[in-house]
Protein backbone atom coordinates (compact mmCIF):
# COMPACT_ATOMS: atom_id res chain seq x y z
CA UNK A 1 0.00 0.00 0.00
CA UNK A 2 0.99 3.60 -0.49
CA UNK A 3 2.78 5.62 2.20
CA UNK A 4 1.03 8.26 4.24
CA UNK A 5 2.60 11.02 2.19
CA UNK A 6 1.48 9.40 -1.06
CA UNK A 7 -1.39 10.85 -3.07
CA UNK A 8 -4.65 9.04 -3.57
CA UNK A 9 -4.13 9.66 -7.27
CA UNK A 10 -1.53 11.11 -9.60
CA UNK A 11 -2.90 12.32 -12.92
CA UNK A 12 -0.44 12.43 -15.80
CA UNK A 13 -1.39 15.29 -18.11
CA UNK A 14 -3.52 18.37 -17.47
CA UNK A 15 -5.76 18.19 -20.52
CA UNK A 16 -9.52 17.66 -20.66
CA UNK A 17 -9.40 14.13 -19.24
CA UNK A 18 -6.80 14.83 -16.58
CA UNK A 19 -8.35 18.03 -15.28
CA UNK A 20 -11.83 16.49 -15.23
CA UNK A 21 -10.50 13.57 -13.19
CA UNK A 22 -8.59 15.88 -10.84
CA UNK A 23 -11.55 18.20 -10.31
CA UNK A 24 -13.84 15.30 -9.53
CA UNK A 25 -11.36 13.66 -7.14
CA UNK A 26 -10.70 16.92 -5.32
CA UNK A 27 -14.43 17.43 -4.93
CA UNK A 28 -14.62 14.02 -3.28
CA UNK A 29 -11.84 15.14 -0.86
CA UNK A 30 -9.23 12.83 -2.34
CA UNK A 31 -5.65 14.02 -2.58
CA UNK A 32 -4.71 14.42 -6.22
CA UNK A 33 -1.64 15.69 -8.04
CA UNK A 34 -1.73 16.63 -11.74
CA UNK A 35 1.64 16.54 -13.49
CA UNK A 36 1.61 18.63 -16.67
CA UNK A 37 4.56 18.94 -19.04
CA UNK A 38 3.53 22.29 -20.59
CA UNK A 39 4.27 25.75 -19.21
CA UNK A 40 0.62 25.88 -18.21
CA UNK A 41 -2.28 23.47 -18.62
CA UNK A 42 -3.39 23.81 -22.24
CA UNK A 43 0.04 24.72 -23.63
CA UNK A 44 0.34 21.36 -25.39
CA UNK A 45 -3.30 20.91 -26.40
CA UNK A 46 -4.87 21.58 -29.75
CA UNK A 47 -8.50 21.14 -30.79
CA UNK A 48 -10.39 21.70 -34.04
CA UNK A 49 -12.50 22.64 -32.24
CA UNK A 50 -15.81 22.25 -30.79
CA UNK A 51 -17.10 20.80 -27.54
CA UNK A 52 -20.47 19.36 -26.60
CA UNK A 53 -21.77 21.06 -23.48
CA UNK A 54 -23.33 17.99 -21.82
CA UNK A 55 -19.84 16.91 -20.73
CA UNK A 56 -19.02 20.26 -19.13
CA UNK A 57 -22.43 20.19 -17.44
CA UNK A 58 -21.74 16.69 -16.09
CA UNK A 59 -18.46 17.87 -14.61
CA UNK A 60 -19.26 21.37 -13.39
CA UNK A 61 -23.05 21.59 -13.11
CA UNK A 62 -24.44 24.98 -14.12
CA UNK A 63 -21.08 26.60 -13.42
CA UNK A 64 -19.94 25.38 -16.84
CA UNK A 65 -21.59 28.53 -18.24
CA UNK A 66 -18.70 30.54 -16.79
CA UNK A 67 -16.26 28.51 -18.90
CA UNK A 68 -14.45 30.46 -21.64
CA UNK A 69 -16.02 28.67 -24.56
CA UNK A 70 -16.28 30.62 -27.82
CA UNK A 71 -19.56 30.67 -29.78
CA UNK A 72 -22.68 28.53 -29.55
CA UNK A 73 -22.98 26.60 -32.81
CA UNK A 74 -26.23 27.58 -34.55
CA UNK A 75 -25.21 26.94 -38.13
CA UNK A 76 -23.86 23.63 -39.40
CA UNK A 77 -22.31 23.35 -42.82
CA UNK A 78 -21.33 20.14 -44.56
CA UNK A 79 -19.31 20.99 -47.63
CA UNK A 80 -18.57 18.75 -50.61
CA UNK A 81 -15.55 20.21 -52.32
CA UNK A 82 -13.99 19.85 -55.74
CA UNK A 83 -10.85 21.68 -56.79
CA UNK A 84 -12.65 24.98 -57.42
CA UNK A 85 -16.27 24.46 -56.41
CA UNK A 86 -18.39 23.32 -53.49
CA UNK A 87 -21.90 22.12 -52.71
CA UNK A 88 -22.95 22.76 -49.12
CA UNK A 89 -25.62 21.28 -46.92
CA UNK A 90 -26.22 24.31 -44.78
CA UNK A 91 -28.39 23.98 -41.68
CA UNK A 92 -29.55 26.90 -39.56
CA UNK A 93 -30.50 25.37 -36.21
CA UNK A 94 -31.51 28.29 -34.00
CA UNK A 95 -33.86 26.07 -31.97
CA UNK A 96 -30.95 24.02 -30.63
CA UNK A 97 -30.13 25.33 -27.14
CA UNK A 98 -26.80 25.13 -25.33
CA UNK A 99 -25.73 21.95 -27.06
CA UNK A 100 -22.38 22.72 -28.57
CA UNK A 101 -19.78 25.49 -28.59
CA UNK A 102 -16.71 26.27 -30.60
CA UNK A 103 -13.60 26.35 -28.42
CA UNK A 104 -9.92 27.13 -28.31
CA UNK A 105 -8.19 24.61 -26.08
CA UNK A 106 -5.63 26.87 -24.38
CA UNK A 107 -7.98 29.35 -22.64
CA UNK A 108 -10.54 26.68 -21.77
CA UNK A 109 -7.97 24.37 -20.17
CA UNK A 110 -6.31 27.23 -18.27
CA UNK A 111 -9.73 27.97 -16.77
CA UNK A 112 -10.44 24.32 -16.05
CA UNK A 113 -7.08 24.06 -14.24
CA UNK A 114 -8.12 26.99 -12.01
CA UNK A 115 -11.35 25.19 -11.16
CA UNK A 116 -9.48 22.01 -10.27
CA UNK A 117 -7.03 23.93 -8.08
CA UNK A 118 -9.82 25.79 -6.31
CA UNK A 119 -11.48 22.45 -5.63
CA UNK A 120 -8.26 21.29 -3.96
CA UNK A 121 -6.23 19.54 -6.65
CA UNK A 122 -2.50 20.18 -6.78
CA UNK A 123 -1.09 20.94 -10.23
CA UNK A 124 2.58 21.07 -11.16
CA UNK A 125 3.51 22.30 -14.63
CA UNK A 126 6.71 22.26 -16.70
CA UNK A 127 7.23 18.73 -15.45
CA UNK A 128 7.50 15.80 -17.83
CA UNK A 129 6.79 12.39 -16.37
CA UNK A 130 9.37 9.98 -17.74
CA UNK A 131 8.39 6.69 -16.19
CA UNK A 132 5.95 4.70 -14.11
CA UNK A 133 7.02 3.18 -10.80
CA UNK A 134 6.01 -0.46 -10.99
CA UNK A 135 6.48 -2.80 -8.03
CA UNK A 136 5.39 -6.44 -8.24
CA UNK A 137 3.26 -5.60 -11.23
CA UNK A 138 1.48 -2.72 -9.50
CA UNK A 139 1.79 0.87 -10.71
CA UNK A 140 2.67 2.85 -7.57
CA UNK A 141 3.57 6.25 -8.94
CA UNK A 142 5.59 8.15 -11.50
CA UNK A 143 9.15 9.35 -11.92
CA UNK A 144 10.21 12.73 -13.23
CA UNK A 145 13.94 13.38 -13.37
CA UNK A 146 15.34 12.23 -10.04
CA UNK A 147 12.01 12.54 -8.31
CA UNK A 148 9.68 9.73 -7.41
CA UNK A 149 6.05 10.56 -6.74
CA UNK A 150 3.86 7.88 -5.19
CA UNK A 151 0.13 7.36 -5.30
CA UNK A 152 -2.47 4.68 -4.74
CA UNK A 153 -3.55 5.03 -8.37
CA UNK A 154 -2.04 6.62 -11.48
CA UNK A 155 -4.57 8.03 -13.95
CA UNK A 156 -2.86 8.23 -17.31
CA UNK A 157 -4.19 11.15 -19.36
CA UNK A 158 -0.97 11.76 -21.30
CA UNK A 159 -2.73 12.21 -24.62
CA UNK A 160 -2.61 10.72 -28.08
CA UNK A 161 1.08 9.72 -27.82
CA UNK A 162 0.95 7.48 -24.73
CA UNK A 163 4.71 7.08 -24.30
CA UNK A 164 4.52 6.01 -20.64
CA UNK A 165 2.00 3.26 -21.28
CA UNK A 166 3.76 2.01 -24.41
CA UNK A 167 7.11 1.82 -22.63
CA UNK A 168 5.62 0.04 -19.66
CA UNK A 169 4.02 -2.45 -22.06
CA UNK A 170 0.54 -1.64 -20.75
CA UNK A 171 -0.76 -0.64 -24.16
CA UNK A 172 0.14 -1.64 -27.72
CA UNK A 173 2.16 0.79 -29.82
CA UNK A 174 0.08 3.39 -31.58
CA UNK A 175 -0.63 2.14 -35.11
CA UNK A 176 -0.55 4.76 -37.91
CA UNK A 177 -3.64 3.12 -39.44
CA UNK A 178 -5.64 4.09 -36.35
CA UNK A 179 -4.56 7.71 -36.34
CA UNK A 180 -5.13 10.86 -38.36
CA UNK A 181 -3.01 13.97 -38.34
CA UNK A 182 -4.52 17.44 -38.17
CA UNK A 183 -3.09 20.87 -38.92
CA UNK A 184 -4.84 24.08 -37.94
CA UNK A 185 -4.55 27.79 -38.57
CA UNK A 186 -6.20 30.36 -36.32
CA UNK A 187 -6.94 33.66 -38.09
CA UNK A 188 -7.75 36.74 -36.03
CA UNK A 189 -10.50 39.23 -36.91
CA UNK A 190 -13.00 41.39 -35.01
CA UNK A 191 -16.16 39.67 -33.74
CA UNK A 192 -18.36 41.58 -36.18
CA UNK A 193 -16.27 40.34 -39.07
CA UNK A 194 -16.52 36.71 -37.91
CA UNK A 195 -20.30 37.18 -37.84
CA UNK A 196 -20.38 38.82 -41.23
CA UNK A 197 -18.18 36.23 -42.94
CA UNK A 198 -20.16 33.31 -41.55
CA UNK A 199 -23.59 34.96 -41.61
CA UNK A 200 -24.32 34.37 -37.93
CA UNK A 201 -25.88 36.53 -35.20
CA UNK A 202 -23.70 38.22 -32.56
CA UNK A 203 -22.35 35.62 -30.16
CA UNK A 204 -23.51 32.75 -32.30
CA UNK A 205 -21.25 30.53 -34.32
CA UNK A 206 -20.89 28.17 -37.24
CA UNK A 207 -19.14 24.86 -37.78
CA UNK A 208 -18.06 23.62 -41.19
CA UNK A 209 -16.88 20.12 -42.02
CA UNK A 210 -15.87 19.48 -45.59
CA UNK A 211 -14.72 16.57 -47.67
CA UNK A 212 -13.41 16.17 -51.15
CA UNK A 213 -10.57 17.46 -53.28
CA UNK A 214 -8.58 19.25 -50.52
CA UNK A 215 -7.42 15.88 -49.12
CA UNK A 216 -6.59 14.51 -52.59
CA UNK A 217 -8.46 11.26 -52.21
CA UNK A 218 -7.04 10.49 -48.77
CA UNK A 219 -9.52 9.68 -45.99
CA UNK A 220 -9.99 12.90 -44.10
CA UNK A 221 -11.60 16.29 -44.25
CA UNK A 222 -11.41 19.98 -43.63
CA UNK A 223 -12.94 22.03 -40.84
CA UNK A 224 -13.69 25.65 -40.03
CA UNK A 225 -15.01 26.99 -36.74
CA UNK A 226 -15.95 30.50 -35.65
CA UNK A 227 -14.35 31.66 -32.41
CA UNK A 228 -15.17 34.93 -30.64
CA UNK A 229 -12.56 36.92 -32.49
CA UNK A 230 -10.93 34.39 -34.74
CA UNK A 231 -11.62 31.59 -37.19
CA UNK A 232 -10.04 28.14 -36.98
CA UNK A 233 -9.38 26.45 -40.33
CA UNK A 234 -7.64 23.16 -40.85
CA UNK A 235 -7.59 19.66 -42.17
CA UNK A 236 -7.34 16.13 -40.78
CA UNK A 237 -6.03 13.23 -42.85
CA UNK A 238 -5.32 9.56 -42.23
CA UNK A 239 -1.69 9.33 -41.12
CA UNK A 240 -0.75 6.08 -42.88
CA UNK A 241 -2.46 6.95 -46.17
CA UNK A 242 -0.99 10.43 -46.19
CA UNK A 243 2.53 9.06 -45.68
CA UNK A 244 2.06 7.06 -48.88
CA UNK A 245 0.65 10.02 -50.84
CA UNK A 246 4.00 11.77 -51.17
CA UNK A 247 2.33 15.18 -50.81
CA UNK A 248 3.44 17.86 -48.41
CA UNK A 249 1.01 18.01 -45.50
CA UNK A 250 1.96 21.60 -44.76
CA UNK A 251 1.43 22.81 -48.33
CA UNK A 252 -1.86 20.94 -48.59
CA UNK A 253 -3.03 22.62 -45.39
CA UNK A 254 -1.97 26.00 -46.79
CA UNK A 255 -3.94 25.31 -50.00
CA UNK A 256 -7.16 25.47 -47.94
CA UNK A 257 -6.86 29.23 -47.59
CA UNK A 258 -6.92 29.56 -51.35
CA UNK A 259 -9.91 27.34 -52.07
CA UNK A 260 -12.67 29.63 -53.38
CA UNK A 261 -15.24 28.09 -51.01
CA UNK A 262 -13.01 28.55 -47.93
CA UNK A 263 -11.06 31.71 -48.77
CA UNK A 264 -14.11 33.86 -47.96
CA UNK A 265 -13.85 32.86 -44.30
CA UNK A 266 -10.19 33.68 -43.71
CA UNK A 267 -8.90 35.68 -46.69
CA UNK A 268 -6.67 38.64 -45.72
CA UNK A 269 -7.01 37.90 -42.01
CA UNK A 270 -3.96 37.85 -39.78
CA UNK A 271 -2.61 34.43 -38.82
CA UNK A 272 -2.48 34.12 -35.03
CA UNK A 273 -1.21 30.58 -34.66
CA UNK A 274 -0.36 27.44 -36.56
CA UNK A 275 -0.52 24.05 -34.86
CA UNK A 276 -0.78 20.32 -35.40
CA UNK A 277 -2.09 17.36 -33.43
CA UNK A 278 -2.93 13.70 -33.92
CA UNK A 279 -6.49 12.39 -33.77
CA UNK A 280 -7.30 8.82 -32.74
CA UNK A 281 -9.70 7.12 -35.13
CA UNK A 282 -9.27 3.40 -34.52
CA UNK A 283 -12.73 2.81 -33.08
CA UNK A 284 -14.14 0.27 -30.67
CA UNK A 285 -12.21 -2.78 -31.82
CA UNK A 286 -8.82 -1.14 -31.25
CA UNK A 287 -9.47 0.18 -27.75
CA UNK A 288 -6.89 -0.84 -25.12
CA UNK A 289 -7.36 -2.39 -21.73
CA UNK A 290 -8.71 0.56 -19.77
CA UNK A 291 -7.37 -0.22 -16.30
CA UNK A 292 -5.14 -2.59 -14.37
CA UNK A 293 -3.17 -2.87 -11.16
CA UNK A 294 -2.97 0.68 -9.86
CA UNK A 295 -3.66 2.42 -13.20
CA UNK A 296 -6.41 3.72 -15.47
CA UNK A 297 -6.32 5.39 -18.89
CA UNK A 298 -8.53 8.26 -20.04
CA UNK A 299 -9.10 10.52 -23.01
CA UNK A 300 -6.93 10.42 -26.12
CA UNK A 301 -4.45 8.03 -24.48
CA UNK A 302 -7.31 5.52 -24.26
CA UNK A 303 -8.35 6.12 -27.89
CA UNK A 304 -11.61 7.78 -26.87
CA UNK A 305 -12.24 9.81 -29.98
CA UNK A 306 -14.96 9.18 -32.54
CA UNK A 307 -15.18 10.48 -36.10
CA UNK A 308 -18.50 10.15 -37.92
CA UNK A 309 -17.54 12.43 -40.76
CA UNK A 310 -20.11 15.06 -39.81
CA UNK A 311 -19.18 15.13 -36.12
CA UNK A 312 -15.80 14.51 -34.52
CA UNK A 313 -15.83 14.04 -30.77
CA UNK A 314 -12.90 13.75 -28.41
CA UNK A 315 -13.00 16.43 -25.72
CA UNK A 316 -16.43 15.44 -24.42
CA UNK A 317 -15.34 11.80 -24.18
CA UNK A 318 -12.11 12.90 -22.47
CA UNK A 319 -14.12 14.74 -19.81
CA UNK A 320 -16.59 11.88 -19.37
CA UNK A 321 -13.81 9.30 -19.07
CA UNK A 322 -12.04 11.53 -16.52
CA UNK A 323 -15.23 11.61 -14.45
CA UNK A 324 -15.66 7.83 -14.70
CA UNK A 325 -12.03 7.26 -13.70
CA UNK A 326 -12.30 9.60 -10.71
CA UNK A 327 -15.50 7.95 -9.47
CA UNK A 328 -13.85 4.55 -9.77
CA UNK A 329 -10.75 5.71 -7.88
CA UNK A 330 -12.87 7.19 -5.07
CA UNK A 331 -14.61 3.83 -4.68
CA UNK A 332 -11.38 1.84 -4.89
CA UNK A 333 -9.47 4.03 -2.42
CA UNK A 334 -12.34 3.97 0.06
CA UNK A 335 -12.56 0.19 -0.26
CA UNK A 336 -8.77 -0.06 0.14
CA UNK A 337 -8.42 -1.89 -3.18
CA UNK A 338 -6.60 0.05 -5.92
CA UNK A 339 -5.79 -3.25 -7.69
CA UNK A 340 -7.25 -4.60 -10.91
CA UNK A 341 -10.47 -5.73 -9.21
CA UNK A 342 -11.01 -2.45 -7.41
CA UNK A 343 -10.50 -0.51 -10.63
CA UNK A 344 -12.54 -2.81 -12.88
CA UNK A 345 -15.57 -0.58 -12.26
CA UNK A 346 -14.02 1.93 -14.66
CA UNK A 347 -14.62 -0.27 -17.68
CA UNK A 348 -18.17 -0.97 -16.46
CA UNK A 349 -18.82 2.75 -16.16
CA UNK A 350 -17.47 3.31 -19.67
CA UNK A 351 -19.49 0.39 -21.01
CA UNK A 352 -22.69 1.87 -19.60
CA UNK A 353 -21.72 5.33 -20.80
CA UNK A 354 -19.65 6.57 -23.70
CA UNK A 355 -18.63 3.15 -25.06
CA UNK A 356 -22.23 2.67 -26.16
CA UNK A 357 -21.44 5.19 -28.90
CA UNK A 358 -18.27 3.35 -29.85
CA UNK A 359 -20.11 0.04 -30.11
CA UNK A 360 -22.93 1.57 -32.18
CA UNK A 361 -20.44 3.03 -34.66
CA UNK A 362 -18.16 0.07 -34.67
CA UNK A 363 -17.60 -0.23 -38.43
CA UNK A 364 -17.65 3.50 -39.17
CA UNK A 365 -13.94 4.10 -39.46
CA UNK A 366 -13.34 1.01 -41.58
CA UNK A 367 -16.17 2.02 -43.89
CA UNK A 368 -14.99 5.61 -44.34
CA UNK A 369 -11.35 4.72 -44.81
CA UNK A 370 -12.31 1.91 -47.22
CA UNK A 371 -14.61 4.09 -49.32
CA UNK A 372 -12.29 6.46 -51.20
CA UNK A 373 -15.22 7.52 -53.45
CA UNK A 374 -16.43 9.58 -50.47
CA UNK A 375 -13.51 11.92 -50.90
CA UNK A 376 -13.30 11.97 -54.69
CA UNK A 377 -16.31 10.73 -56.68
CA UNK A 378 -19.25 11.86 -54.52
CA UNK A 379 -18.20 15.50 -54.03
CA UNK A 380 -17.62 15.70 -57.78
CA UNK A 381 -21.04 14.22 -58.55
CA UNK A 382 -22.72 16.71 -56.24
CA UNK A 383 -20.94 19.63 -57.83
CA UNK A 384 -21.65 18.32 -61.37
CA UNK A 385 -25.34 17.90 -60.57
CA UNK A 386 -25.69 21.41 -59.16
CA UNK A 387 -23.64 22.88 -62.00
CA UNK A 388 -26.02 21.27 -64.52
CA UNK A 389 -29.17 22.24 -62.60
CA UNK A 390 -28.17 25.90 -62.42
CA UNK A 391 -26.84 26.02 -65.96
CA UNK A 392 -28.54 28.47 -68.29
CA UNK A 393 -27.14 29.11 -71.73
CA UNK A 394 -28.14 29.28 -75.37
CA UNK A 395 -28.66 25.49 -75.42
CA UNK A 396 -32.16 24.14 -74.72
CA UNK A 397 -33.03 23.43 -71.05
CA UNK A 398 -33.11 19.90 -69.76
CA UNK A 399 -35.83 18.65 -67.38
CA UNK A 400 -34.62 18.03 -63.80
CA UNK A 401 -35.18 14.28 -64.16
CA UNK A 402 -32.89 14.04 -67.13
CA UNK A 403 -30.20 16.13 -65.40
CA UNK A 404 -30.29 13.88 -62.35
CA UNK A 405 -30.23 10.80 -64.54
CA UNK A 406 -27.27 12.12 -66.50
CA UNK A 407 -25.34 12.60 -63.21
CA UNK A 408 -26.44 9.25 -61.79
CA UNK A 409 -25.17 7.48 -64.92
CA UNK A 410 -21.68 8.73 -64.13
CA UNK A 411 -21.62 6.36 -61.14
CA UNK A 412 -19.56 3.49 -62.41
CA UNK A 413 -21.05 0.65 -60.39
CA UNK A 414 -24.46 1.82 -59.26
CA UNK A 415 -25.39 -1.32 -57.33
CA UNK A 416 -22.22 -1.72 -55.33
CA UNK A 417 -22.26 2.04 -54.73
CA UNK A 418 -25.80 1.88 -53.35
CA UNK A 419 -24.84 -1.11 -51.20
CA UNK A 420 -21.80 0.72 -49.88
CA UNK A 421 -23.81 3.83 -49.05
CA UNK A 422 -26.43 1.77 -47.20
CA UNK A 423 -23.67 0.17 -45.19
CA UNK A 424 -22.31 3.60 -44.39
CA UNK A 425 -25.68 4.71 -43.08
CA UNK A 426 -25.75 1.71 -40.76
CA UNK A 427 -22.22 2.17 -39.41
CA UNK A 428 -22.35 5.93 -38.91
Amino acid sequence: MADDDAFDAIVVGGGFAGLAAAYRLAQADKSVLVVERGQVCGAKNLTGGRIYAYALQALLGDRWREAPVQREVKREIISLLTEQDAVNVDSTLTSVEEESYTVLAAPLLAWLAEQAEEAGAMIVTETTVDGLIIRDGRVCGVTTGDEQLEASVVIDCEGINPLLLERAGLIRRLDPHDVAVGAKFVFGMPAAEVEQRFGVQPGEGAALLGMGDPTHGVFGGVFAYTNNESVSLGLVVDSAAWAKSGRSLLHTAQDLQEHPALRRYVGDAELLEYGAHLVYEGGYDTLPQMSGDGWLICGDAAGLCLNRGFTIRGMDYAVMSGIAAADTVVEAVEAGDPGPTGLAGYRRRLDDGLLQDFRALRGGHAWMSGTPDLFTVYPKLAVDLMTDLYHVGADPVRPVGSTVWRTARKVRKPFSTARSLLKGMKTL
Binding site: R37, P176, V181, S239
Partner: protein, 101 residues
Protein backbone atom coordinates in the same frame (compact mmCIF):
# COMPACT_ATOMS: atom_id res chain seq x y z
CA UNK B 1 -3.07 35.96 -50.40
CA UNK B 2 0.70 35.52 -50.29
CA UNK B 3 1.74 32.18 -48.98
CA UNK B 4 3.79 32.14 -45.81
CA UNK B 5 7.01 30.17 -45.60
CA UNK B 6 7.22 27.53 -42.92
CA UNK B 7 9.40 29.83 -40.81
CA UNK B 8 6.83 32.61 -41.06
CA UNK B 9 4.07 30.17 -40.11
CA UNK B 10 5.94 28.85 -37.10
CA UNK B 11 6.80 32.40 -36.02
CA UNK B 12 3.13 32.83 -35.15
CA UNK B 13 3.29 29.89 -32.73
CA UNK B 14 4.97 30.33 -29.36
CA UNK B 15 7.87 28.08 -28.42
CA UNK B 16 9.89 27.79 -25.23
CA UNK B 17 12.99 26.88 -27.09
CA UNK B 18 15.62 24.56 -25.69
CA UNK B 19 18.29 24.73 -28.41
CA UNK B 20 20.52 22.13 -26.88
CA UNK B 21 18.33 19.22 -25.88
CA UNK B 22 16.60 17.61 -28.82
CA UNK B 23 13.56 15.60 -27.73
CA UNK B 24 13.61 13.74 -31.04
CA UNK B 25 16.82 12.08 -32.17
CA UNK B 26 17.49 10.61 -35.59
CA UNK B 27 20.62 9.33 -37.30
CA UNK B 28 21.01 11.60 -40.36
CA UNK B 29 23.26 9.17 -42.23
CA UNK B 30 21.25 6.07 -41.38
CA UNK B 31 18.27 7.81 -42.98
CA UNK B 32 19.91 6.97 -46.35
CA UNK B 33 18.55 3.47 -45.99
CA UNK B 34 15.11 4.57 -44.78
CA UNK B 35 12.55 1.75 -44.85
CA UNK B 36 9.69 4.29 -44.74
CA UNK B 37 10.36 6.19 -48.00
CA UNK B 38 11.39 9.21 -45.88
CA UNK B 39 7.73 9.91 -45.26
CA UNK B 40 8.74 12.28 -42.45
CA UNK B 41 9.75 14.87 -45.07
CA UNK B 42 6.20 15.28 -46.39
CA UNK B 43 4.24 14.13 -43.33
CA UNK B 44 5.70 16.49 -40.74
CA UNK B 45 3.23 19.39 -40.51
CA UNK B 46 6.08 21.68 -39.41
CA UNK B 47 8.48 20.52 -42.14
CA UNK B 48 11.22 19.78 -39.65
CA UNK B 49 12.74 17.06 -41.82
CA UNK B 50 14.52 18.00 -45.04
CA UNK B 51 16.37 15.50 -47.20
CA UNK B 52 19.69 17.06 -48.17
CA UNK B 53 20.44 15.55 -51.57
CA UNK B 54 23.95 17.05 -51.83
CA UNK B 55 25.04 15.83 -48.39
CA UNK B 56 23.09 12.59 -48.85
CA UNK B 57 21.63 12.83 -45.37
CA UNK B 58 18.60 14.01 -43.42
CA UNK B 59 18.52 17.44 -41.88
CA UNK B 60 16.33 17.65 -38.81
CA UNK B 61 15.65 20.61 -36.52
CA UNK B 62 13.80 19.92 -33.28
CA UNK B 63 13.24 23.66 -32.75
CA UNK B 64 9.81 24.46 -34.18
CA UNK B 65 8.52 20.90 -33.65
CA UNK B 66 4.80 20.95 -32.84
CA UNK B 67 5.10 17.65 -30.89
CA UNK B 68 2.20 16.11 -32.78
CA UNK B 69 3.90 12.71 -32.99
CA UNK B 70 3.19 12.04 -36.67
CA UNK B 71 6.87 11.31 -37.42
CA UNK B 72 6.80 8.74 -34.65
CA UNK B 73 4.10 6.96 -36.64
CA UNK B 74 5.29 7.27 -40.22
CA UNK B 75 8.98 6.58 -39.47
CA UNK B 76 9.41 2.92 -38.67
CA UNK B 77 12.69 3.56 -36.88
CA UNK B 78 11.27 6.23 -34.60
CA UNK B 79 8.20 4.09 -34.01
CA UNK B 80 10.22 1.09 -32.93
CA UNK B 81 12.91 3.17 -31.24
CA UNK B 82 15.81 1.45 -33.03
CA UNK B 83 19.35 2.53 -32.19
CA UNK B 84 20.02 6.16 -33.05
CA UNK B 85 16.31 7.02 -33.13
CA UNK B 86 14.16 8.15 -30.22
CA UNK B 87 11.07 10.24 -29.65
CA UNK B 88 10.38 11.87 -26.30
CA UNK B 89 8.42 14.78 -24.98
CA UNK B 90 10.55 17.84 -24.25
CA UNK B 91 11.47 18.24 -20.57
CA UNK B 92 10.82 21.11 -18.14
CA UNK B 93 8.18 23.00 -20.09
CA UNK B 94 10.22 23.34 -23.29
CA UNK B 95 8.77 23.08 -26.77
CA UNK B 96 5.53 24.33 -28.25
CA UNK B 97 3.37 26.48 -26.01
CA UNK B 98 0.00 27.11 -27.65
CA UNK B 99 -1.82 30.31 -26.76
CA UNK B 100 -4.90 29.51 -28.87
CA UNK B 101 -4.85 25.72 -29.16
Amino acid sequence: MTRKSVDELLATTRFETDEHNAHIVIDPQACRTCPSDRACVTSCPAQRYVWDEAADQMRFDHVGCLECGNCRLVCERLRLGVEGYSWDYPATGAGVSYRQG
